[in-house]
Each structure stands twice: as structure tokens, then as C-alpha cells.
Amino acid sequence: MRREAPKSFADYTPLLFPGVMLVVFFVVPFSTMIAVSFFKRNPAGFYTPDFVIDNYARFLTTFFAGVLGFSLMLAVLVAVCCVSIAFPFTYLLTKRSRRVQTLWLVGLLSVLSLSEVIIGFAWSTLFSQTAGITNLFVALGLMDKPVALLPTFGAVLAGMIYQALPYTILVLYPALVRLDPTLLEAARTLGASPVKAFFNVVTPALRNTIVATLIMVFVFALGSYLLPQILGRPRHWTLSVLITDQAIYQSNMPFAAAMAVFLVLISLALVGLTLLVGRRENAL
């Protein structure tokens, strides 16, 4: 099949709809946010249109650098954990019968119907001292007395991985299903064990998919602001929590916007860096 390069304006029309959507739902709101981030804050009220850099200046402190660093670290950790759990899982899932696959996928899709609030409160109950899973461990004789597993970093991580895992699997699934089975057969014929074939053939073959999934989960986790509040201590609050504080509780839109712009720029830079490194390694 040969693909014709678009020649006339009419050939571009299918792009019109997504283009308009992108402008209306991304370019316009994001530009508004950038504009607001330079507005002047009035502590006794809201803000006035202006061009000041105070909002960015306030952000450039070790305190906010620490919070930003923690948020990025948390998002990277969630991404790495999700992909290392989801990739082998999805691979094994594609080896099962059609029926089993459908059941699992429907189950995973149903998890997506839960809101962040429900996930947060469910995990906070599971990790609580009074009604949590440690009571079950006590009943089984594994522990002496029930303990509270929250607020801890582990609780935040568990909640966020739970939330992001279905997305990870659903993104990986199409690529793994379409993976050419002859690759694996060749590896096995040449004497590789199933485990070796998985790591030396399947994983490198899907390198780009894995990187793309890591980036998707990273970006997804970066926006989380409810789970760190419900399951963690203040030192586990992400930058998104502080942005919400400024926007919702302090009605300091300019500062909130400045922080959000900063967060977007940093994450774009990280994503760009990842892609760049990936391309260079591919070229070798």
C-alpha cells in the first residue's frame, strides 16, 4: 500500500476537527494560564492584569525546589513500579485464552470507573488501625496487634500505583497483542529459556512502547493531588497539592498558575530528555 502525500487543502480537512479541539481545549486554557501567571496578585482580593514576575520569583526557593523534587521523584517511582508490574502481567495475559483476556480487561476497565476520592478513602480504610488489613493479619496470627499503615510514603505509593495500573495495562496491551509470535519462536528454537526470551527479545522489541508508557504514567502521576493528602503526611504532599491550596484556598491564581506553568515546563523538559536519550541509543 502506498501512502499519497497530501496535496491540496482538502486533503488536510480530516485534521481540522482534532486541530480545533486542541486549540479550544488545550491552547486557549494553557495560554490563559500563562497570562494569569504574570498577573499581579492582590492579597486582599483576587488579581489584576499586569506583567510582573513576582509569582515566579516566589517559587524559586529551596522549599519549593524540595516539593518539586519530591513530586517528580514520586511520579518517576510510580511510573517505574507500574510498568515493571504491568509489563510482565500484560505479556502473560496475552498468552491466555481470548475469554480470560476479556474478563481481565473488563475487570481492569471497571477499576477505571472509580474516582480518586473513592480510591483514596478505600485505601485509607484498608490501611487504618481500626478497620484495616492488619486486623486480618492479627486474626491469622501474623501480627500481635493491629497498626496503622498510614499516613506513610508507602501508602501514598500503593494508592497511586493502584490508580495508574489499569491505564498502564491498557496502553501496553495492544502492543503486546500485536507482537510477532515468530520472534519468540525463533528465540526458543535457538535455545533461549522463556524468561531469557522475554527479557532479551520481547522487552527490547517493545522498547519504544515501554518508554512511551513510562512517560504517560509519569505525567498521569504528576497531577495527583488527592491521594497524597489522604494517605500521606504533609511532607508527602506533591506540588499539585500546593497549587490547589493557592488556587482554591488562598485564591492566589497568579501564583498557582506560575507553579503550574513551572511544573508543565519541567515535565516537558524531562519527557524531551527521555525521548532524546532514547533516540541516541537507537542510533547506535
Binding site: R41, N42, P43, A44, G45, F46, R58, F63, G66, V67, S128, Q129, T130, A131, A148, P151, Q229, I230, P234, R235, W237, L242, D245, A247, I248, Y249, Q250, S251, N252, M253, F255
Partner: protein, 362 residues
Amino acid sequence: MTRLIATQVSRRSVLGAGLATAGVLAMPSILRAQDKSLKVGVYGGYFKKSFDEHVFPDFTKATGIAVESVAEPTGEAWLVQLEQAAKAGQAPADLSMMSQTSTLKGQSTELWTPLDTSKFKHYGDLLPRFINKYPDGRVAGIGAVAWWITLVSNTDVYKEAPTSWAAFWDKANEDKLGLLALASNSFLLEVTAKTFMGGTNALDTEEGLNKAFEKLAEVKPNVRLWYRDEAQFEQALKSGEIPMGQYYHDVTGLAIADGFHVRTTFPKEGGIQDSGNWVLSRASTKVDEAHAFIDYMSQPSMQGVMSRKVGTTPTLKKEVLDLTPAEFASVSSEIEPIIPRYDLYTSKADWINQKWTELIVG
């Protein structure tokens, strides 16, 4: 296609006519209420439930104005939403309950329609601190309800009621407290000043504020949860997971009435008395209905109903109320209250917020 539409229209009108007839026969007030309506924002949860049950139906019966209650979040979230909506000419609620700090902030953009006080029969009976005025004297808000933030504890975990806010600083309470997460809704700086520095006037200077922050930092190891959302703490308090903290006196009272093992204590330094105003969004066109509602709510009898059913403190002079001494005592206390320094949260808002965030996050 044409036929289909025609059938639908006729069927709907028949249905409508039937309903209208039934309405006239059964509930004439509801039918009249359809002409006049008012969207009222009240804090979600227990508050909204109580208003829906004890206040709005009677108001509709008395005035013929239907009320649609809107659950609003506490904090400044609602203020931001109202402001954004008003810029677009929308009013998510006509009247809203609004905190003192938020009312002051809303004034700066003329978000509140000035109220005509001649329409309120009991205007003269309102306590002066419940009338919120623009700098030029126009009335921006009228006291809706006043409430207390008190020292709450779980009775299973604490057999003896704590008597002082100083309990928060007690080393024995490590990792046991639930406190509000923001300076401007927890009023913990005021509590610190009243408990250890002789009164909230100590916060007049930056030096005094710094001292209060230092003292407050000692509480940190005792705090398990800094909450923004009430439900988060209420649940944990009831179960004993987080057995002590600061919480709303009225809501705790309702939880006690529901049989939960919790108590609310007015510490010897006084409870924190906070209050909310009725404010009318400038985007609202229901000016007459809003005035009728505020007038209705400011009657001594309604303030009595609110105290008895919802557990809030009346905004009117004690003399005009129909509350028995026992009823009055259950919603208030003889101990001098801690009145929040609202001025700080507009004049030094960002400085305090920054210090506060660094204190609890750092």
C-alpha cells in the same frame, strides 16, 4: 417526524396539565413556588442536610419561594467559583454562606450586591459583629450562622475530657491529633496566642507572629492528619483512629446525638468562634427573593430553630431569642471566645500562608 413531535408535545402537555391539577389540589404552595425560586449555597454535609430538613421547606411554605440548595465547599473554593462565574454573568448560587475572610476578599471586587437593610425587620437585633460592611458603609453581608471550633476527642480513647488547648502540645498525644490544614481556617495562630501569649493581640506584630509560629511548630510531632476536608477527620475521630483534634462544635454535637463516642469541649481559653454571612452574588437577579430569605432567617424564632436543630449559635441579641438557658448553653459557652483575627488573612495573607506551609510541610 412531524407527527412524532406533535404527539410528544401533546402528550407532555396532557401530562403537565394533569400534574398541575394534582398540584393545585394537593400542594398549592409548591405550585406557587414555581414562579419564584432561589438558589442558596450552604456548606455541604450535615449543614446542608439540616437546612434541607428544618429550614427550606418551612421557608417555601411561608413565602412561596422555592429553594434549591447547593452544597458549597468550605474554604475559599466557593469564593473563587462565585467570582469566576460572576465574571461570566453566572450565579451558581444566588445567596451563599460565606466566611468572614472570604466576604472581605469578595468586597474587593464588588462581588456582593449591597443589601437593603430596611427590608429586614430584625436588623436592629443583630449583634454588630454579624453585620459585614463595605468600607463606605454599604452592607455586604448579614450574619447567617455562627459556629464554634472546639477541642474534640474520642470518649473511648480519652476517658477524661481535656480542659485546655494545651493538650495539643502534650507529648503524650504524639501522632494523635487531627488539625485543619490552613492558617486561615484552623485559627491555630490565635489559639497559640491565647493559650501561651496572653491573647490574640500578641499577633499584631511580625515578631509576635514569629513567636506564635515557633510555639506552634512544637505541635507538629503530635499531628497525624492536617485535613482540608471535614469528612476525612470526622470519620477518623468517630472510629478512634485519630482520637483528638479541633472540629466543629455543631457537627460534633450531631454526631453525639447519632450515638458516636465523641465529645466536644470548650477549653478554658475559650472555643474559636467563627461565623458566616449571607452574601448575594452580583450576578444574581433574585434580589427580592434573597432579601426575603435573609429577613426570614433573621427572625428570633428561626434563629431558635437553627440552634435547636442544627446546633449553631444565634446571630441576634440574647434578649430577643426564645431559647431556654439550657438550650443557649448547648450552642454557646460563658467562656470568652477566641475571635479569629480575620484582618491578618487579608493584610498578611501571603506571608502567613508561606510561613504556615513551610511549617507543616517542611
